[in-house]
């Protein structure tokens, strides 16, 4: 069942469930952060409305920098603003920032050790009809490999709001990954969130598999967990991992509860949450780790639902993976 400690939204998993784009939570969080802290400034590369940076721009026009379509310069302008004591959030689609401006982020922000925040929206295949050029599937990998970078992947709009506020307070480079589509709002303003902390969202009876998930796939993993329990009598743990780096050391404890791990993310199987979890568990408590993600392919045009199905990121696929894992015999 859903963990009470998370204080889930009362309507989640009902017919009256509420949805909001994760990026909208960012827009609200940024506005709130700016109201609390005069040092917060925002930059955007000609995508102010669709990244929801517009909430900030409308309220604080003097603290907003319109970059035009110049993501490389944007990262370095943000670095310069941070060097003068500002807390810049710079936003575009993840494909372009951090996709196009990786070296500027590495050198002028992380190597330089300045307090700038990279915000990449429209990550994952669920971007839909725009197609593979606009579906960032490598951003977690290229951000988490840079020293000093913190990587946040909020699971819903409310968590995105909290992640943005936390990033504003945190001293150092942060990457926040956002998604385009309306996603069920699971968490509430009293749900716990802390950078570096994973949270168990769902605890099935006598759990046999631990599922680590991030982003919008957390909801899909919860759907799978509920159905597995109700229809197949298979209990699993679902752990929300909104901080990919630094990874919560508690993942070991969650993994050891069941001895079998499945990771779920809308990202390449190479280099994302699954890799991060596997790297850590391999050293700390070795056990088999299965990874649901995009399997070394590019995205394409389509409706979000059909793309998630095509790339094996659906509830059904997660359920199938759990049954497969339980069917495998391990030599211990």
């Amino acid at each position: 069942m859903l963990e009470e400690a998370i204080h889930f939204h009362k309507k989640v998993f009902t017919t009256r469930e509420e949805s909001a784009p994760i990026r909208e939570g960012y827009g609200k969080g940024l506005l709130e952060a700016a109201e609390r802290d005069i040092r917060v400034v925002a930059l955007c590369a000609d995508l102010t409305d669709s990244t929801k940076t517009s909430y900030f721009k409308d309220r604080f026009p003097a603290r907003f920098v319109e970059m035009g379509i110049g993501e490389q310069s944007m990262a370095s302008v943000a670095s310069g603003m941070a060097a003068m004591g500002k807390v810049p959030f710079f936003t575009s689609y993840a494909m372009f920032s951090p996709g196009r401006n990786w070296e500027q982020i590495r050198t002028t922000i992380c190597y330089n050790n300045v307090n700038a925040k990279v915000v990449g929206s429209h990550a994952g295949v669920s971007v839909g009809p725009d197609g593979g050029t606009h579906q960032a599937l490598e951003d977690i990998a290229i951000m988490r490999v840079i020293p000093r970078m913190t990587v946040l992947v909020p699971c819903d709009a409310e968590e995105a709001r909290k992640a943005t506020l936390a990033a504003a307070e945190y001293e150092g480079p942060v990457y926040i990954r956002l998604q385009r589509e309306a996603t069920p709002v699971m968490t509430t303003d009293v749900s716990p969130f802390r950078i570096g902390k994973a949270q168990c969202f769902y605890r099935g009876r006598n759990p046999k598999v631990t599922i680590f998930a991030c982003g919008a796939m957390v909801y899909t993993a919860l759907e799978a967990a509920r159905e597995l329990e109700e229809e197949k009598d298979i209990g699993v743990l679902v752990v929300n991992v909104p901080t990919i780096k630094p990874l919560d050391k508690e993942v070991c404890r969650y993994a050891e509860e069941t001895g079998r791990v499945l990771t779920v993310e809308e990202h390449q199987r190479i280099g994302g949450l699954g890799s991060a979890v596997a790297e850590y568990l391999t050293e700390q408590c070795p056990m088999p780790v299965y990874r649901v993600g995009v399997d070394d392919r590019f995205g394409q045009s389509g409706e979000p639902g059909e793309l998630l199905e095509h790339y094996q990121l659906s509830k059904g696929h997660i359920m199938q993976m759990v049954r497969t894992i339980l069917g495998v015999k391990y030599v211990s």
Partner: protein, 296 residues
């Protein structure tokens, strides 16, 4: 700004040549690094540090300072040598350049040495950072009297990011952003005109709504006047400093093969490797304005 007196010009020229000597000494000791750019920019650095910059060598991170952002980080031997001669740290520390544990990294790192405003090396990002600093400063102080000097190379204008920043500065029109372009005409693979032609540069910058000044990069008075004009301009200013790469050592001058080679590892058709260092130092020590006993 006032006009420089003759003795002030002579003092800066002397400093520039001391800086050149230190550049060569540190490169010889390091056994790697860039020679042409640092020698070519010594006069610009000396003019900035000894007459233009508001800067306290004993407190290089003082709030009320002008910012010097070095975009082409590979010419850092001249920045380090200038800082040392300005009193930021002992001149003898220059001999640690590029060595393990040194504050003088092969390309500058902000956290290693106080007074370095930003880490640089990968070309093309300094102007954006300088612009970011200006824009941040402007939020708090619209009439700011702090100047932000971005030193950059002509070769790095190949990088697209520079043109993003040039366009952006043209839009924002900050009065206190002053870029200095080291127009020395060379880059690693050859002359800039062959690798990637840049001209007409003045017209390019002007068409992006920059104020443009051409200056002889080895004429202290002219450089000083250019900085004065830039400070009073209401636009971002690009000072195109026409310099001679390798300036001060005739055997090195205008030869792009000295871009990334230190004395002892340069081309051998004029000077053999084993004589390059000593010959360079000998010629620099004989230059006008140098008092040899001051060089230690």
């Amino acid at each position: 700004m006032k006009h420089l007196k003759d003795r002030e010009v002579a003092m800066i020229e002397k400093k520039a040549n001391q800086i050149r000597i230190s550049v060569i000494e540190s490169l010889i000791e390091a056994g790697s690094g860039h020679t042409a750019g640092p020698l070519g920019m010594a006069d610009v650095f000396a003019t900035l540090f000894f007459s233009v910059l508001r800067y306290d060598p004993k407190n290089p991170q003082a709030e009320e300072r002008d910012r010097l952002i070095l975009s082409n980080g590979h010419i850092c031997p001249v920045l380090y040598a200038t800082m040392a001669h300005a009193g930021c740290f002992p001149v003898k520390e220059l001999l640690t350049l590029r060595k393990f544990g040194s504050r003088l990294q092969g390309h500058p790192h902000r956290e290693y040495l106080p007074g370095i405003e930003t880490s640089s090396g990968p070309l093309g990002s300094g102007l954006s950072q300088a612009l970011g600093m200006v824009l941040a400063d402007r939020i708090d102080r619209p009439q700011s009297s702090t100047y932000f000097y971005c030193l950059m190379s002509d070769g790095e204008l190949n990088c697209g990011q520079n043109w993003e920043a040039i366009m952006h500065a043209g839009k924002e029109q900050p009065h206190n952003l002053i870029a200095v372009l080291d127009r020395n005409g060379i880059q690693i693979d050859g002359f800039t005109r062959d690798v990637m032609p840049l001209e007409p540069l003045e017209e390019k910058f002007a068409s992006f709504n920059w104020h443009v000044i051409n200056a002889d990069g080895h004429n202290i008075q002219e450089l000083y006047d250019a900085f004065g004009e830039a400070q009073s301009a209401l636009q971002p200013t690009m000072i195109i400093a026409h310099t001679v790469p390798g300036k001060g050592v005739p055997q090195f001058e205008r030869d792009y093969r000295w871009h990334g080679a230190p004395p002892g590892k340069g081309p051998e058709d004029i000077l053999t490797k084993d004589t390059q260092g000593e010959c360079a130092l000998k010629q620099l020590r004989s230059l006008k304005g140098v008092i040899v006993s001051d060089c230690d």
